[in-house]
Subunit: 662 residues, 2 copies
Amino acid sequence: MELNGRSRVIIEAAAPEVDDGAFPAKRVAGERVLAEADIFADGHDLIAAVVLHRHDSESEWQEVRMRPLVNDRWQAEFAVEKLGFHRFTIEAWIDHFLTWHRDMKKRVDGGASEDELRVQLMIGLEHIRNAAARAGARDRRKLAVFAATLDGDDPIDDKIEDLWSDDLLALMWRNAERRFVTRYDRELLIEVDRPRAAYSTWYELFPRSAAAEEGRHGTFKDVEAQLPRVARMGFDILYMPPIHPIGMKFRKGKNNKVQAEPDDVGSPWAIGGEEGGHKAIHPQLGTIDDFERLVKKAKAAGLEIAMDIAFQASPDHPYVKEHPDWFLMRPDGTIQYAENPPKKYQDIYPFHFESESWTAMWDELRDVFAYWAGKGVRVFRVDNPHTKPLPFWEWCIRDLKCEYPDLIFLAEAFTRPKIMYRLAKEGFTQSYTYFAWRHTKEEFTEYFEEITKPPVSDFFRPNAWPNTPDILTEYLQFGGRPAFVQRFILAATLAASYGIYGPAYERFVHQARDHGGEEYLDSEKYEVKHWPPADDDMTELIAVVNRIRRENPALQQNATLQFHETDNEQILCYSKSAGDNVIVVVVNLDVHLTHSGWIDLDLEALGLETGRSFQVHDLLSNARHTWHGPRNYVQMNPQVIPAHIFRIRRRVRTEKDFEYFL
Amino acid sequence: MELNGRSRVIIEAAAPEVDDGAFPAKRVAGERVLAEADIFADGHDLIAAVVLHRHDSESEWQEVRMRPLVNDRWQAEFAVEKLGFHRFTIEAWIDHFLTWHRDMKKRVDGGASEDELRVQLMIGLEHIRNAAARAGARDRRKLAVFAATLDGDDPIDDKIEDLWSDDLLALMWRNAERRFVTRYDRELLIEVDRPRAAYSTWYELFPRSAAAEEGRHGTFKDVEAQLPRVARMGFDILYMPPIHPIGMKFRKGKNNKVQAEPDDVGSPWAIGGEEGGHKAIHPQLGTIDDFERLVKKAKAAGLEIAMDIAFQASPDHPYVKEHPDWFLMRPDGTIQYAENPPKKYQDIYPFHFESESWTAMWDELRDVFAYWAGKGVRVFRVDNPHTKPLPFWEWCIRDLKCEYPDLIFLAEAFTRPKIMYRLAKEGFTQSYTYFAWRHTKEEFTEYFEEITKPPVSDFFRPNAWPNTPDILTEYLQFGGRPAFVQRFILAATLAASYGIYGPAYERFVHQARDHGGEEYLDSEKYEVKHWPPADDDMTELIAVVNRIRRENPALQQNATLQFHETDNEQILCYSKSAGDNVIVVVVNLDVHLTHSGWIDLDLEALGLETGRSFQVHDLLSNARHTWHGPRNYVQMNPQVIPAHIFRIRRRVRTEKDFEYFL
């Protein structure tokens, strides 16, 4: 019989555990991991349990004792500090000494006979002697003292008195008899990212539109000139669409016209020309040196450059000639272009991932990331990852993170939920969300409850974008400025990571190309735009909100997000807290009308005492109110500002707080 | 690279799957298994998927094609017929022909050019020719006909017309190109039991109390005489407490007195005397031949005998002398008796499962079951399985079921939920429940929702008992006859399997030994009782309700249990359905007062048309009512009968159903 039938403890349902341990759970450096499991055994014996954990680069396990919560659930806590993969498992065993100790107490309290107690003391003595035999010299000496008392001529009451010593319990724990230990049947991975993986503020701009003068193609140097402005608004990641040479063949014209005019600049996502492909830079943007300088300057301004990696090739991409086997050939000898019948995207060739040469192609695609990582880039926004095989991403990201554990990958997959989740499991650090298409109180509550709580939050980190160059929602098209302000505040306070596609957003650009569509009119995707300094935009508000995010740790995580009841369907109320820092956000979801109503705060969840007043400080208007109890009245005019971002001061002083009162 | 990166399909979260496949899901012979999984891939290609399944005794997989439901969930159905273990897994792949076929339709509908269509037809032709090459002679001939048309001089419209043929789709499916197939990473087990595992009606009696005359110790022959009575009440399992010799040392007296009188018979759970142990029969009950005859006679009466297996030994048990190493020795040389300090159970020695000789002990304990199975017993009620190691049960039950796949094990574990669930996962066929201690509408709803729906219902089969020899709830002690009637109807209609501890229940025995306790006064556990024929008991009602259960398949399963709203907290309403058979039960939970109120039926769930009247037939009172719409009025007097068991007739005839109306 292979089984050790004497290992009586069962360990089940450990957490965090993504898909039975098939994928790592995500945490950031400095976070404390709460490891849990159901642990139980037959009968009434007491159990001892430990979490074993270590960084993958270490060989020694660290051990933390677990404590029982309720209903056979056990927990321990450990910190993860080092980037990369941390792993843990659980061990548990019957602790016969503890069991004996508990029963001894019951016997004494139950008035057991002295005869019985003497037999029991013999049993206890044996436990202590065995522990001493296992112990190091120092503990052995201390245990010997306990043994001597139990074994000696002292009155039985004195012997028993000794048993209740915390010292004895600590000594016995340190030298516990670990017999018939059950070990959880797998080791679970924690992927430890840097803090920015969980809390980040993204700003997207097209470098070719960055020139100060109208009509000139922007350069990396022009982007450098924008850095102070972007930093002043409080962003920490500056994301640029692809910066590679753009194909000429089937190049798209303005507003996605099938035929480009001679001077049309094309879509940056039609990657590759005679100047090179995914490792080259569009000559009009600058040189590789210019790019590296931009990366450094950005860093100096507190910004990271995020690159856009789109795995597809224009017909002019060098890959097409060098690796025709990476593309699908049609029976007429032409290469299969991208299609979604009856729509055709002849300016783009997708990679053929069922190619015989797939391993070489995988290597090359991974090397694209590695190349730019070598130039100092640590953040990648990946275009349409859901149209490339999911197993590729697991391999690619895992491989890259071995060398660069500080990499951040944002998955731009606006697709079905299970695919979005799978991409996150495969290794994407952050994910775009359905945020742009959530509008009602019910929709926000349901969606954010799902994506900010386990099991989803263990592997999926939402990044909320109210717009992108592809997504100008009808809400923004028709909601006027209040819509822009409201969606911005929602994104920035609901999600620890959010981003905006910049100049178009901060200037309230809202004209769509087609009725019923979400494409911008005269989209930057197909032409160079000019964004001269504006008097009237959202930059001030953006700077204020991003400062609020920086100053309030509550807004830098999602785990504590909680929705509160309101009596008006147009008023959304939610809170986030981090220790003493408590933020309550109230938003008027109606972009046209002033709304007022009563919010009903879950005071306990906010750490507020029921009978005590508390102060709410609106960080947007700087107004301060004293509230009492859960029900409070709010009113918001969308034409002024459609939201409150309240910081809660839990204790408001009363006369009782002053010395002279006492 | 070991990974086949060209297998692009992902298969996740298959069902039924208990603890990631660590344990089998339970079904009964003749049931149809709904196998499901999340199946998806990158991009927009169409997927094909099959379930592979086989009984463990077969070597060939059967295949069933899966169909997509919603949200990337796929499903297929297969029947399990043969007892034992059935296993299944899933395979899926990109179906390039289907993808091409779908896109061809879109191209044609989108008005693609004839040039484009010709290229596409070439691609389709290749798919068909490849399929023909894979096919057997018959399919090959048929595919050749399609290929000839596509390849020939027919007008392009005719060629295209051919593509929409169902025959072509069926041929292509049968000979599909299964390249880069993804197989689910595990095989999942289905434990197939006989139908009684899921639907059973238990009656418990003490054979020693079965004598017709007062003062005589009952025998198996006396039990034979009871068979017609028990069968008439509609039970199908007759369960007897342990029938083994009872120890003399520390024998308990009446009402669990520490010192027995000389003529006290002791507790049947203090197993083992000089006449033998777990494989012997108490001499006063009869011989092994008597027992075997009882088993046969019971079978002839439609009843199975269930034995009680309690793994513990009296100090007189032969094991104590023969295998002292199976018990724990104390330092004073005595054997450790059962204890729950400060309580002592000196008449019982627990087995020491951490013994060095554990493998020999496991073998012997399993052999106890095997011995009785050899005598024709197929149902075992296992006493306190949660005080024996959980891994033992998995091994023991699995091993026994290889030889006797028709065995049924009922776990008598009134312990913490996770342990009860684990026992069920380890192999127990049925489990006692907390039913006896659930009283309010909220409690019933919450508890039965939990135990009758996946994931729990995949491994845990509830058996509801309103009483047992150990459990006389305060509800029964103080609720009078209405309490007995109400709890009986609830058990029999909420759970497909239920049981009563017989004579005491049907005669409304309600006197407890101690205030605040649940022990019967003058319990049969410690003395011989006499149950002369009674004029006034519940046997008629029991017979009626058990007949209703037999005649209504809806009550023979739990999967469709659904609770319906009522406007009175004392009125519980729930339904079960099996095809056309729909039962709605309404219970007045108040044992003192008549209650009336409105029930609000979920008509859609019941398969009722909203606008059409339906008939409800109370199977208890035989009254019939015509109801219309979801809200209906009910009133129940607990002194008369506290419940309705309605059978729904979905269609009530109206004038439109008669020919002369037309």
